[in-house]
Symmetry: C2
């Protein structure tokens, strides 16, 4: 299989970006990613855009051509949609584009503008990731993850403190990330006392509605070797599952993530213990606990306690998770998230993550999920 690497990576600030359009946001991060890659825009052979909601919320589709023209290009350009995994899936398709030999240098863009819209419109739009049965029943994503959390608590003794510890860790990491949506640390007590959204999930267990964009440039081996710090893509896999919880074999694990994780690690020739740093899809705190178990970092029912004792916190751990702050505290502009995860891992493996740097990080993983677990995409990177 052809060797491929990321040689350029950038994210915008995440948060409520009312003063900047999607066009301007994308121009900015593409400029940064190109400069990082030592390339110019005319070097790009194809564009893959990850976005979920521009159609539903803004009646704007055709984002491939939209951003290609915005960047003064006429190259092939595609929009890939897979709900909150749109960014990771765009990256995956960009990777296959390079591996196919069709393109040498691919630009992957993840972008989402959400805070300009009414929260109820955004919540309904996001339910487009789930099944119509769930939508018509009035379910929302906090409600669906609350069901999973309750079952995980009942089956494995996971507690509200365990979940709160995920929020505390990720807010702490975000406090070290100048681009995060939320930069204030929180305490276990603050999480536990925050208003209930869908019992047992409270406000501070939930990722926010955010704006943001991220870009990554994937190249083949020839171009990668010209760059001083290529980060090699050594494993990639996607798996799918039922859109609705009712169709799943289990609710305390995301089967698609288990499958994709195993395949990606096998392709990379590694085991979970080889991974130093991971960006996990913590749309809700319970989701990070399940991810830590689904990917084989912890046995079922053991991840919550591990997070509470600080095993996954920066500076204290063999495996550090969500140094960006995760979806929880860095923010969750849905189409951007999967690409931002890649950017964070690239910075970590290049030793450029500044005050949130994991010491001697050599192998990194990204875990991006669409819907309540209907699709999962895992990438593994090595320096």
């Amino acid at each position: 299989m052809m060797k491929t690497a990321v040689i350029g990576a950038a994210t915008s600030n995440f948060g409520e970006l009312w003063d900047v359009s999607p066009r301007a946001l994308v121009r900015q991060i593409v400029d940064h990613a190109l400069s990082d890659a030592h390339l110019k825009i005319s070097d790009i052979d194809a564009i893959y855009v990850g976005n979920m909601l521009s159609g539903i919320l803004g009646n704007q589709e055709n984002l491939g051509a939209f951003f290609s023209h915005e960047l003064n290009l006429t190259c092939p350009a595609f929009k890939i949609e897979g709900a909150c995994a749109s960014g990771g899936l765009a990256f995956y398709n960009g990777l296959l584009g390079v591996r196919s030999g069709a393109f040498e240098k691919v630009l992957v863009i993840g972008v989402e503008k959400m805070t300009d819209h009414k929260p109820e419109d955004v919540a309904l739009g996001l339910m487009g990731a789930g099944s119509s049965a769930e939508r018509y029943a009035g379910a929302t994503f906090p409600g669906l993850y609350a069901l999973m959390a309750r079952l995980h608590m009942n089956e494995f003794g996971t507690t509200e403190e365990h979940m709160a510890a995920v929020a505390v860790k990720n807010h702490y990491h975000a406090s070290l990330n100048g681009k995060a949506h939320f930069k204030k640390p929180v305490t276990i007590e603050q999480v536990l006392q925050s208003p209930k959204i869908a019992d047992p999930l409270k406000l501070l267990d939930c990722s926010p509605i955010s704006d943001g964009a991220a870009a990554a440039i994937i190249v083949n081996e020839t171009f990668a070797k010209k760059h001083p710090k290529p980060i090699w893509i050594s494993g990639a896999s996607v798996a799918t599952d039922s859109l609705d919880l009712a169709g799943r074999k289990t609710l305390t694990s995301l089967t698609a993530a288990v499958t994709a994780g195993k395949r990606a690690m096998s392709e990379a020739g590694i085991t979970p213990s080889d991974i130093d740093v991971a960006e996990l899809h913590d749309c809700f705190t319970i989701a990070e606990i399940m991810a830590l178990e689904d990917l084989g970092f912890y046995k079922k029912g053991k991840a919550g306690q591990a997070v509470l004792t600080g095993e996954t916190t920066l500076g204290k751990s063999r495996l550090t998770t969500n140094t960006s702050g995760g979806l929880k505290a860095c923010g969750h502009p849905v189409g951007a998230t999967g690409v931002k995860q890649v950017v964070e891992i690239v910075k970590q493996l290049r030793n450029e993550a500044e005050n949130k740097q994991v010491e001697n990080a050599r192998v990194g993983l990204t875990h991006n999920v669409g819907g309540s677990g209907a699709v999962a995409v895992i990438h593994i990177f090595k320096r």
Copy 2:
């Protein structure tokens, strides 16, 4: 470059399919495509879905996982969106998936349900393919193509009769296609006397709002050689342009189609005169006239007269265009169209097109356009 082929192809009936859900429609065509390919569903390695409007019209996204689960699979699955080129772009990405070595057998699905929605909602949704400036100005696609038609008439002497002849030819071809939306032939007079939609385009110059689905199965050389009638994919290219007409270099040609056409023919090692049968994106009659010129079949300004004299009509021509009836008369369920074009060419090159068969068809082309020309995807096939 790895050799790839289509070994399975099927379309549903196109038209007003009020009694069938997208799920049922897709199950039906996937069954037919699998049987055509001599494969079973569990042989499929990945799914690429082309769809434009399920989010805007139905609040349903995540169609990759949606159809993967519907088909009892857990494989990688993606939705590719590029307006009315979504189907062709899904096929292109499926092709790269096979060429990359990631997958051996890929299922491409194009699907769109439009007639369940109010026409004004559909018209607004479709404008999601264009720019916000055009939308806010109140432009619709008939209006945009009318501007192009008027300019083509002024610059090259193209007439309303020339455009009407495209409708007459495509309705005639559709009358031979049991799956077409419109099965009645029309006359030049009927087209010219039909109500004006956006002068000079009349009702019978416009493709309809339709429901429909199509599927194609792409495999690598190893699997292709096991099939009695593989149809080889010998050229593929995508190009982009400005979403709005104001950003274009010319309005009497779709530059993206010119670029993608040249590249695809170069990859296939052919010239326009080698092509026996083509499915062209005739969303409006003027669009087929421009396509015939953009792809080098006729010199600028000569295509209209050629269509009027029957040069592209079945049984009379060296190059026959839109034997399916085209978007104009077979119907235009936007996400399905690009895949249906592939299915028609596959049937032609296998000599299985029944009473619309082009004699001794050896080389075929598909031309699929998104928006008013913002993206074009061209594929070339050989038997």
